[in-house]
C-alpha cells in the first residue's frame, strides 16, 4: 500500500531466564551468560531432557493481585509482568489516549499449558466436577492479551497470534500492519510462553527436538556449533509497544527503532522439519527486505532463529547465503537462544526486542557456546563475545514447526 504509516518501538519489557527486566537481561546477554540449568519446576528424573532455561525468582505479586495470581496461568502472569515494564518504559498515559485506538496482539505457541496439565490431572484424580471454573479462561491462547486489555482498559483489537515458534513475530508483523493501515495508534505486542511443564517437555523430547546434554546445561544451547544436538526449552515473555511514528513524536517518546519490513510465508513441507533447501526461509527474508524498501547490503546484523538443532542452523545458514550471496559473510549473525533457550511463541518478541536494543545501543551480543566450527555453518556467528557495532538495519528470523516463517527488519529511525 502507498502512504503507509510508519511504526516505531517505544516501549519494551521482558521476563526470561537471564532476568526479570530488560536492563538485567540486556546486561547478561552482552556478558554471554547462560540462563539454562537443570529443571526445577517438576521432578524430571523420568524425562529424556532434564534441562531448561527457566525464569528465576519470579514474584508476580509485584504486578498482579494475589487473588488473580491463583487463577492466571503462568504464561499470562509473564505477559502482565513484562507489559508492566513495557508500559512504564514507554511512558504512555493510557488515560490521555483514545482506548479504541490501542490494541493488544500477543503471540503464544501453546497458551496455558500449565493449567491444562494441572486440570487434566485434577479431573483424573478427583473427578470432572473438580475442574476449576477458571480452567478455560486461564488456558485459552487469548488469555494473556485479554488480561492486558482488561487491566489497562484497551478497547482496540484484542487477539492472540499462534504459529508455534513464529507466533510473536507474526503478532508483531500483524500489529505493524494494523498501525500502517491506520487501525490503531498503539499496539501492545510481542509474545509469552510458559511450557516448562512435564508433558510439554516430554513431547518436545519425544520429537527429538531437545538437547540431551543434561550433564552440562549451560553448554547445551550451542547454535551453529558442530556439536549441537537440539534446542533447550526457554520460557518468559517479550513485550513490545509499537506506536505510529507521528503519535510517538507528538508525545516526545523514546524511540528504540523503526519496524520497517515484514516478510511471511510457509514452507508447505513438513510439520516439524524445515524445507530442506531453505526456500521458505529465503523467501521471507527477501520479502522483508523488499517490504523495508532497502538494499540487502544495508542489513547490518541478523538475529538468527538459531535454535541449536542440526537442521535449523544448517538450513538457516544456507538460506542466508541464498539471500545475500557472498555478502552473507560480511553480516554478523548471532543467536539469542544460545543464552535463553527457545521461548517458542515468545521467542520472536524477545528477539525483535534484542534487534531494537542493538540498534539503540550500537551493540550486538554474541552466540554463546560456539566452540567447534561446522563446515556447513560458515558465517560470522559472533562467537561468544559481544561487539560494538553501529546497526542501521537488523533482521530477526523466526522459523516454526508447521513451516510458518517470519522475518522482520528493524531500522534506526531517520527522518
Amino acid at each position: 500500500m502507498t502512504n503507509k504509516k510508519r511504526v516505531v518501538i517505544t516501549g519494551i519489557g521482558s521476563v526470561n531466564s537471564l532476568g526479570n527486566s530488560v536492563p538485567e537481561f540486556w546486561e547478561h546477554l552482552l556478558q554471554g551468560k547462560s540462563g539454562v540449568d537443570t529443571i526445577s519446576k517438576f521432578d524430571c528424573s523420568q524425562h529424556r531432557c532434564k534441562i531448561a532455561a527457566e525464569v528465576k525468582n519470579f514474584d508476580p505479586s509485584l504486578v498482579i493481585e494475589p487473588r488473580d495470581i491463583r487463577r492466571l496461568d503462568l504464561f499470562t502472569q509473564y505477559a502482565l509482568y513484562a507489559t508492566h515494564e513495557a508500559v512504564q518504559d514507554s511512558k504512555i498515559n493510557f488515560a490521555e489516549e483514545n482506548p479504541s485506538r490501542i490494541s493488544v496482539n500477543l503471540g503464544s505457541g501453546m497458551g496455558g499449558m500449565t493449567q491444562v496439565e494441572k486440570q487434566v490431572q485434577l479431573a483424573r484424580d478427583k473427578g470432572f466436577r473438580r475442574v476449576a471454573p477458571y480452567a478455560i479462561p486461564s488456558a485459552m491462547l487469548s488469555a494473556a492479551s485479554s488480561e492486558i486489555s482488561i487491566k489497562y482498559g484497551l478497547k482496540g483489537m484484542n487477539f492472540a497470534a499462534s504459529a508455534a515458534c513464529a507466533s510473536s513475530s507474526y503478532a508483531i508483523g500483524l500489529s505493524a500492519r494494523m498501525i500502517q493501515y491506520g487501525e490503531s495508534d498503539i499496539v501492545v505486542s510481542g509474545g509469552t510462553e510458559a511450557v516448562v511443564t512435564p508433558t510439554t517437555i516430554a513431547g518436545f523430547a519425544s520429537a527429538r527436538a531437545l538437547s540431551k546434554r543434561n550433564n552440562e546445561p549451560q553448554k547445551a544451547s550451542r547454535p551453529f556449533d558442530s556439536e549441537r544436538d537440539g534446542f533447550v526449552m526457554g520460557e518468559g515473555a517479550g513485550i513490545i509497544i509499537l506506536e505510529e511514528l507521528e503519535h510517538a513524536k507528538k508525545r516526545n517518546a523514546k524511540i528504540y527503532a523503526e519496524l520497517v519490513g515484514v516478510g511471511w510465508g510457509a514452507d508447505a513441507y513438513h510439520i516439524t522439519a524445515p524445507d530442506q533447501k531453505g526456500k521458505g526461509a529465503e523467501y521471507v527474508m527477501l520479502q522483508a527486505i523488499n517490504d523495508a524498501n532497502i538494499k540487502k547490503e544495508q542489513i547490518s546484523y541478523i538475529n538468527a532463529h538459531g535454535t541449536s538443532t542440526k537442521q535449523n542452523d544448517f538450513i538457516e545458514t544456507m538460506a542466508i547465503k541464498s539471500v545475500f550471496g557472498d555478502y552473507a559473510y560480511n553480516i554478523p549473525v548471532s543467536s539469542t537462544k544460545s543464552m535463553i533457550g527457545h521461548l517458542i511463541g515468545a521467542a520472536g518478541g524477545i528477539e525483535c526486542m534484542v534487534c531494537a536494543l542493538s540498534i539503540f545501543h550500537s551493540k550486538i551480543h554474541g552466540t554463546a557456546n560456539y566452540e567447534t566450527p561446522d563446515p556447513e555453518c560458515d558465517l560470522d556467528y559472533v562467537p561468544n563475545e559481544s561487539r560494538d557495532l553501529e546497526v542501521l538495519y537488523a533482521m530477526s528470523n523466526s522459523f516454526a514447526f508447521g513451516g510458518s516463517n517470519v522475518s522482520l527488519v528493524l531500522g534506526k529511525l531517520n527522518d
Binding site: D43, E65, R71, L72, D73, R129
Partner: protein, 111 residues
C-alpha cells in the same frame, strides 16, 4: 500431583502435594457444630478470594463485600462441595449470597 508456580489449586490439594492428606471434614468431625461449619466456610472463602479471614463475617456478601465474580463463586462452591462431600444444586447455589446463607445450607445438608 506436581507442584508448579502459577497454578495453585485448593488448599486440600496442596496438602496432598506436600505429602499428607486431610480426612474429609465430615468424617473427622462427627458432631460438627454450626460455628465449626461457618469457620470452615470462611476459611475457604478467605483462601480463594485472598481476603483477610478476620474481616469475613456471617453477614458478609460474597459479591459486595468479598468482591467475588461469578467464576470465583463457582470455585468457592466446588471447594465447599468437596470439603463437606455434598453436591449443591444450581438453584440452591443461586440463593447463596452470604456466608450465613452458605452455612445454613451446609448445616441443613449434613445434619
Amino acid at each position: 500431583m506436581w507442584n508448579i508456580q502459577g497454578c495453585t489449586n485448593s488448599e486440600s490439594e496442596r496438602k496432598e502435594e506436600v505429602g499428607y492428606s486431610e480426612l474429609p471434614f465430615r468424617k473427622a468431625n462427627k458432631s460438627v457444630t454450626r460455628d465449626e461449619i461457618q469457620k470452615k466456610i470462611i476459611h475457604i472463602v478467605a483462601e480463594i478470594a485472598s481476603f483477610p479471614e478476620e474481616k469475613i463475617q456471617g453477614s458478609s456478601s460474597l459479591i459486595e463485600d468479598i468482591h467475588a465474580d461469578s467464576l470465583m463463586t463457582y470455585e468457592i462452591a466446588q471447594e465447599i462441595e468437596a470439603t463437606f462431600e455434598i453436591e449443591i444444586d444450581e438453584e440452591d447455589l443461586e440463593k447463596i449470597k452470604t456466608i450465613d446463607d452458605a452455612t445454613n445450607h451446609i448445616e441443613k445438608r449434613i445434619k
